[in-house]
């Protein structure tokens, strides 16, 4: 049997990571697998990727994927600001952030908001189980009101919907998915990688230990029965000619991504217009009212200036500026001194 290689001639094993220490069946592990698959199929050189995370079971997962990429496990809730610093110092790497709902929606909510507002160029994946897994299952700020974890009282606080928030903040790529919907999630993560700017992907990822009972709105069973995909998502990479891809029978829409790849969205029942903020918000709103989880690409807008573009960062990463560019030129230097002399 021949070994399969990707476009840059690497085997998939070049993209795997260490052995997971999460609970068997944890949704987070499925997301790690999808990240591996997506990076491999997209043919991204592992050394060109930086994995960023905070603290939590979810934030531990970068140890379990892309073992040959760089990584930065930050402190709790501060992944977005550390990523901002890193991305400013070297904008030529692909930043993939993995966070939890506690890490993002509780302690890190301010950071999340400002990273979106800056339009930091990164893929921001929230592995959202509605609980703080690592500290043993307390409700987090994304858990639905009335949802009940194992051995617990029903949650009495209303949830923060991170997708709604991201859309309202003007994020150009907002998607929701489910760790159990492998095909959709793979397409969305690949598309996020091809996007220029902040790509928020909120992934429902059941915590099998603390919130996988039937009364939890974030259990496998519940999400399987109540997932409402907006469309079937297919990713067509820029290196495989789109003309050779079969045209779907029904209605569909192609979204062109920054690197020339395409995200093809095949309509399921009603057509969802990904360029319409109001449509995106109402899709979330109606699903929420009915206790459903709407998934797919909710909102897309290309060409929003990214943080590095706004900052006017030069093409050479700051981290590798040559010595002569790191300080004022001789002429500038002399001029400054002259000014002091007056």
């Amino acid at each position: 049997m021949s070994i399969k290689l990707n476009v840059i001639n690497l085997e998939k094993s070049e993209y795997t990571g260490g052995k997971s220490s999460l609970c068997p069946g944890c949704g987070h592990d499925q997301i790690s697998k999808v990240i591996i698959q997506a990076a491999w199929e997209n043919g991204i050189p592992p050394e060109g990727i930086v994995k960023m995370s905070g603290i939590g079971c979810s934030s531990k997962t970068p140890a379990y994927f892309l073992g040959k990429s760089h990584g930065f496990n930050t402190v709790h809730g501060r992944m977005p600001s550390v990523t901002t610093g890193a991305a400013m110092a070297n904008k030529n790497l692909l930043y993939i952030g993995v966070s939890g709902d506690g890490d993002t929606a509780s302690i890190g909510i301010g950071q999340f908001i400002h990273a979106i507002r800056r339009n930091l160029n990164m893929v921001y994946i929230i592995e959202n189980n509605g609980v703080y897994g690592l500290t043993k299952g307390q409700y987090s700020a994304t858990m639905e009101r009335g949802s009940t974890k194992r051995k617990g009282q029903p949650n009495d606080q209303p949830p923060i919907d991170l997708c709604k928030m991201a859309i309202n903040l003007g994020c150009g790529f907002v998607a929701r998915s489910f760790s159990g919907s492998k095909k959709q999630l793979t397409a969305l993560i690949k598309a996020g990688m091809s996007h220029n700017g902040m790509a928020i992907i909120d992934v429902i990822s059941p915590c099998v230990t603390f919130a996988n009972n039937d009364e939890s709105y974030r259990s496998y069973g519940y999400v399987k029965d109540n997932e409402e995909p907006l469309h079937v998502a297919d990713y067509i990479p820029h290196f495989s000619p789109i003309a050779e891809v079969d045209i779907p029978e029904g209605e569909y829409k192609d979204i062109e991504l920054f690197d020339g790849s395409t995200l093809r969205l095949e309509t399921i029942s009603d057509h969802h217009d990904t360029s319409d903020v109001v449509a995106a918000l109402s899709a979330i709103h109606y699903a929420e009212q009915q206790g459903k989880h709407v998934t797919g690409l909710l909102y897309f807008e290309a060409d929003i200036p990214t943080a590095d573009e706004v900052q006017g960062l030069v093409d050479i990463p700051l981290s590798s500026l040559p010595a002569e560019l790191m300080r004022p030129s001789r002429a500038k230097h002399d001029e400054l001194i002259r000014k002091l002399i007056g």
Partner: protein, 592 residues
């Protein structure tokens, strides 16, 4: 020490249910009036890894998990492989021989293989091996089956009759098998005595606060402080305590300050990382003169560090927390009981002097499970809220919130009392609360207000008991410690006495303000001083030297995450006496 003193360990992976046999044994010993102290070595993982629970039981009160292992229960192969070769003669090893292979054991180690499937019958639940192991343990120790049966019924009562009966049946089969096949343990349990209670360290903090009249508690979960939140969440509603789980520690401290300002006793708890986020709020409480109590349960740092391991590493963090120079109270209790008995006093002092109080606990104290004499637990301590104005009085209309007084204490009116309206602010202010920071920063006013605040420290210091030496005043060596090391130092002193070395003990609990004069006097009277600390660079010694100018003769330090065992200190003292070493760093034998 003669008498019954026996150490049981249970090893397995997280998720294998170590907690349940641990709880059953703890409850069993407590009911029999046997003292118990349990320490769990584990990792930040929900399933897997290696957890190693040490349960020491004794006919006298114990404050450490001891030096040796007398019995080991292996719930998985890993436990057997890691520890068997370190076990000495007469140790009993209980394991499920269906799934675990014994390894190479020292002479005299007593292997107790249990063919669990055969004993339990087909289709039995995996966790039954735990019940089997407990039953064998009881039998080896000569504990009557009835006592175990009662505790099993108690433990499984919530899970239904069927499971209860099943566990008792399995336990009995294992008990009989053990009686027929294995030699009794090297020691036999004493006759039952007056039953004791069982508690966990964090419970002591929470119960003490509830007893002291806390009405507002909030937290963001952070190991090893989460136990306080869990106790509060479980009991708050019934006790009329407002318990909030908040989005981050910055909000936690701000809510605590707000609730305290409005008039209720307020507390929050966290670990070092969370405390770091709280620091700005600590200074805010000091500036506005609002009494709050913060518990910082230290874990091994820096940063995320080792969340499940102990360390006394945050001393300078709490000493320096928040900008500026301001009054505060800092203490480090030495045990759950000490915390329980001291916390009401801490609330009284915080109220009296209107300042932030920081209690430094650590994983060792907060995470321990131990027996406690229930008669020592009084949840109705004296509550003294200090100079608090709760109704209209003579000063109505002329009230000055930050009035200059000799003591520095300005009577505090709660918001909402007519005639006592005032503004509190984090800017510097005048006695009436008007800010002096924006229009004119009058140096004399600034000086007067700063001195008023700081004067409170004089009264506070006078209210704190001075340090004292425990033991023989003429001892050859004085062991100096602070916080959680008190128990292990005491036990080491007992062992050293048996070896003919006389050692006494100087322990510090109240850290800020500090009784420097008394400390110098005591230290100067000692023949040889050795300081024991759970950190790398002698953080407390540096503080002590700063406050007293006194330099101790030797150091014993440990910073590998595991707590000291008595013999570590004994060996270090001997090494320093004989070899003239001045720094000993004991080696940890148990690898988890």
């Amino acid at each position: 020490m003669s008498g019954f003193d026996y150490v049981i360990t249970i090893g397995g992976a997280a998720g294998q249910g170590i907690a349940t046999p641990g709880n059953i044994l703890a409850r069993l010993f407590a009911r029999l009036g046997i003292h118990m102290y349990a320490y769990n070595a584990y990792q930040s993982i929900i399933r897997g890894g290696h957890s190693f629970l040490t349960i020491r039981c004794s006919d006298h009160e114990i404050r450490t998990h001891g030096d040796v292992i007398d019995l080991m229960i292996c719930l998985n192969q890993d436990t057997m492989d890691r520890h068997l070769e370190h076990l000495g003669p007469n140790t009993s090893v209980i394991f499920n021989s269906d799934t675990i292979e014994p390894g190479k054991a020292a002479d005299g180690v007593r292997l107790c293989p249990m063919a669990v499937t055969e004993i339990v019958g087909k289709g039995a639940n995996k966790l039954m091996q735990n019940t089997v192991a407990i039953a064998v343990t009881c039998q080896l120790l000569g504990i009557e089956f009835k006592a175990l049966e009662d505790v099993l019924n108690f433990q499984f009562s919530a899970k239904g009759e069927e499971l209860m009966a099943m566990n008792v049946k399995v336990a009995w089969a294992a008990y009989e098998h053990s009686a027929a096949n294995f030699k009794p343990a090297s020691q036999q349990a004493p006759k039952p005595g007056r039953p004791l209670a069982v508690w966990a360290g964090n419970q002591a903090f929470a119960m003490a606060a509830a007893g002291a009249g806390v009405k507002f508690y909030c937290a963001y979960p952070m190991s090893p402080s989460t136990g306080i939140l869990h106790w509060m969440a479980a009991n708050g509603r019934e006790l009329g305590i407002m318990v909030r789980q908040v989005e981050d520690e910055i909000s936690v401290i701000c809510m605590t300050v707000g609730a305290a300002h409005a008039g209720c006793r307020s507390m929050c708890a966290t670990s070092g990382g969370g405390f770091a986020l709280m620091t700005e709020g600590v200074g805010a409480a000091a500036m506005m003169e609002i009494p709050i109590v913060i518990v910082n349960v230290q874990r091994a740092g820096p940063s995320t560090g080792v969340p499940t391991k102990t360390e006394q590493g945050d001393l300078w963090q709490v000493l320096g927390a928040s900008q500026g120079d301001f009054p505060k109270l800092i203490l480090a209790p030495s045990s759950p009981l000490d915390a329980f008995q001291t916390i009401p006093e801490v609330f009284n002092l915080a109220d009296k002097y209107q300042l932030p109080a920081i209690i430094l606990s650590d994983l060792l104290i907060s995470d321990e499970t131990s027996t406690i004499d229930p008669e020592l637990l009084d949840m109705h301590p004296l509550i003294d809220r200090g100079e608090l104005i709760t109704e209209v009085g003579d000063e109505a209309g002329n009230y000055e919130r930050y009035k200059f007084t000799d003591s520095g204490i300005s009577p505090r009116a709660l918001p909402g009392i007519p005639g006592y309206e005032h503004v509190v602010a984090t800017d510097e202010h005048m006695p009436d609360g008007v800010l002096i920071s924006d229009e004119y920063t009058h140096p004399h006013k600034r000086r007067a207000m700063l001195e008023k605040r700081q004067r409170k420290m004089d009264g506070l210091l006078a209210d704190l008991p001075p340090p004292a030496i425990v033991g023989d005043a003429d001892a050859e060596v004085t062991l100096v410690g602070w916080g959680s090391t008190a128990g292990v130092i005491q036990e080491a002193i007992g062992q050293l006495a048996q070896a003919g070395v006389s050692v006494n003990h100087l322990h510090f609990k109240w850290l800020v303000p500090f009784h420097a004069d008394e400390a110098v006097q005591l230290l100067s009277s000692c023949k040889r001083t050795i300081i024991v600390e759970n950190n790398y660079s002698g953080l407390f010694h540096r503080y002590l030297r700063g406050e007293t100018g006194f330099t101790v003769d030797g150091h014993i330090r440990k910073y590998d995450g595991e707590p000291f065992k008595p013999h570590h200190i004994v060996a270090a003292v001997q090494e320093q006496l004989e070899g003239g070493e001045t720094l000993s760093v004991p080696y940890e034998e148990i690898i988890v």
